[in-house]
């Protein structure tokens, strides 16, 4: 049962084939059998999960048939949860219990979903391999010597290994889509502003967006129906009415125009991954779509612009961690300056400090125009490239990542790590929706297919992904994990 999609589980719960308590116990057992190997969870909420499951079964007995009622999920440890620790993968917050639930958590709670625990992640979501976590790296269920991708690596590994039915994540430069690709699951980043950032610990506020990591595009639609929506507490959350995303995924693809960005098939892309993507495109053509070559001429500058914008915003956001109001405080500070400096230096890991330094430098007097303003102008050019492309195509398709999951510890150079997100970052800079879905295996490791849509074209992106999954079964492929 635990390998089923959330959509299938919803049916099984509805028909009475299984209860939420039984299902929750099955996942908790799986977690206790495999989490030692994978390190996907930072916190496991056994007691409260069973309590929520009992409540869900009671609600169902009283006639409630909410679609996610009783379905066990995991939240990335970046979402604030009342009564459970929210660490953000950092020593800085390793003992922090938020005084409130994040919007996303509120919504899933109200829908009756069961929270199994909080998943591991790169520290403050800064990383593409989940190796920067204070709680140690997550391991990829397909090969435990390899990384799961990051920063939502714990959520991706947990879904891939059936430690939960579905999970939440956040994506600032690829942090949902790249781990989804590496772990062979479906990961969706909605348009900027589609999901409220209330209670989601801030990394780069103009880029951060929450979204689902799950077992199918249909499940992503199901989760988006709960997650999306206007929320006055996040002033950048779109006031646009949400759609019924489940209702939007039933359209055939006849006449769909797919843009193939030449820049996503250039130097650096592994030949094997390219084969999987080309095969997928042939499948889309069989489904009635046409494929057109397009250009995103400024894509090669996206990583450069991102590594100004994201660190600049991070340096401002992370200035709140001062060892005074909450979070880590150093021992025996000699004066206030020492308290600030040592609390921050001991509380933050290397990568986080590096980005704070870069961001502070880019914003400092004398460099603002050369770095920050320049990056914002490049951001405009990148957005214009997409606007032009969407004048002639409906969706843009390419690989999610240049290759499959790499081995733990193999990328020590930060710049090499940053270039991992070469196909995903521009989508965040432009605020567009993007999904990664499995496109088959390369030497036993999953490759991800990236589908990008225009602003607020969530339904279209999910529909294209769902139609592909109706015709193929790559999303059903599972890692052969052994319980030790």
């Amino acid at each position: 049962m635990i390998e089923k999609t959330a959509t299938e589980l919803a049916r099984a719960l509805h028909s009475g084939e299984i209860s939420s308590v039984e299902l929750t116990k099955a996942y908790l057992n799986r977690i206790s059998a495999l989490n030692n190997q994978l390190n996907a969870f930072i916190t496991i909420c056994e007691e409260s999960a069973l309590e929520q499951a009992r409540a869900a079964d009671t609600r169902r007995a009283a006639g409630d048939s909410s679609p996610l009622l009783g379905i066990p999920l995991a939240h990335k440890d970046i979402f604030c949860t009342k009564d459970q620790i929210t660490s953000c993968g950092s020593r800085m917050l390793h003992n922090f219990t938020a005084p409130y639930d994040a919007y996303v958590v509120e919504r899933f709670n109200a829908a009756g979903a069961v929270m199994l625990g909080k998943t591991n992640m790169d520290e403050f979501a800064m990383g593409s391999s989940n190796e920067t976590s204070f709680f140690g790296p997550v391991r990829n269920p397909w090969d435990t010597e390899r990384v799961p991708g990051g920063s939502s690596g714990g959520s991706a590994a947990a879904v891939a290994a059936d430690l939960c039915a579905m999970a939440t994540g956040t994506d600032t430069g690829g942090s949902i889509r790249q781990p989804a690709a590496f772990c062979g699951i479906t990961g969706f980043k909605p348009s900027y502003g589609r999901v409220s950032r209330w209670g989601m610990i801030a990394f780069a506020s103009s880029l951060d967006q929450a979204g689902p990591l799950c077992k199918s595009a249909e499940d992503a639609a199901l989760m988006m129906n709960v997650m999306a929506g206007p929320d006055r507490r996040d002033s950048t959350c779109a006031e646009l009415e949400t759609e019924d995303y489940q209702a939007g995924i039933g359209q055939g693809l006849k006449g769909l125009k797919i843009g193939l960005p030449r820049q996503h098939f250039a130097e650096g892309l592994s030949a094997e991954v390219e084969l999987r993507i080309r095969d997928a495109l042939a499948e889309f053509e069989k489904l009635g779509a046409t494929v057109i070559d397009i250009d995103l001429p400024n894509n090669h500058l996206s990583v450069s612009a991102y590594y100004v914008v994201a660190p600049a915003e991070a340096s401002a956001n992370l200035s709140r961690y001062d060892g005074v109001r909450y979070g880590y405080r150093c021992e025996q500070p000699v004066d206030l300056e020492d308290l600030y400096k040592r609390s921050r230096s001991e509380g933050f890991g290397e990568e986080v400090k590096r980005r704070i330094m870069v961001g502070t430098y880019a914003l400092s007097a004398g460099y603002f125009d050369a770095y920050y303003r320049k990056a914002q102008k490049i951001r405009r050019l990148i957005k214009n490239d997409f606007d032009t492309a969407f004048n002639s195509v409906d969706v843009i398709i390419g690989p999610t990542s240049p290759h499959t999951a790499f081995t733990l510890g193999s990328k020590t150079d930060p710049v090499a790590m940053y270039l991992e997100d070469i196909y995903t970052i521009a989508v965040n800079l432009a605020g567009l929706p993007g999904i990664s879905i499995p496109a088959g295996l390369c030497g036993g490791l999953p490759a991800g297919l990236h589908i990008i849509g225009n602003d607020f074209a969530e339904s279209r992106v999910l529909n294209v992904a769902h139609q592909f999954q109706l015709a193929t079964d790559f999303h059903r492929q599972k890692p052969a994990l052994k319980v030790n």
């Binding site: 348009s191 500058l301 450069s304 340096s315 921050r344 330094m357 502070t360 490049i378 602003d455």
Partner: protein
Amino acid sequence: MAFDRLEVEKVAQLARLHISDAEAQEVTSRINDILDLIDRMQSVDTENVEPLAYPRDVRQRLRPDEITETDRREELQRLAPAVESGLFLVPKVLD
């Protein structure tokens, strides 16, 4: 734009971070690598390009100036490392 040891100290001070002598060399060289990556932007002429701060040009929403938050001081201060009589404790600032 070379980012040297002196610059590292200046920026670390602005960011309230402590970089030890042992770390300084590696930090300097890593940040220089990142700045090289960033400097690729300079190859494009952006003279007449309007900067983009947010994915879409949103206007800040206004709301009525009403009290919406309740007093949760006690609850929130329980999260602090050191508190006394409703105040956050820090090392002595003034003699």
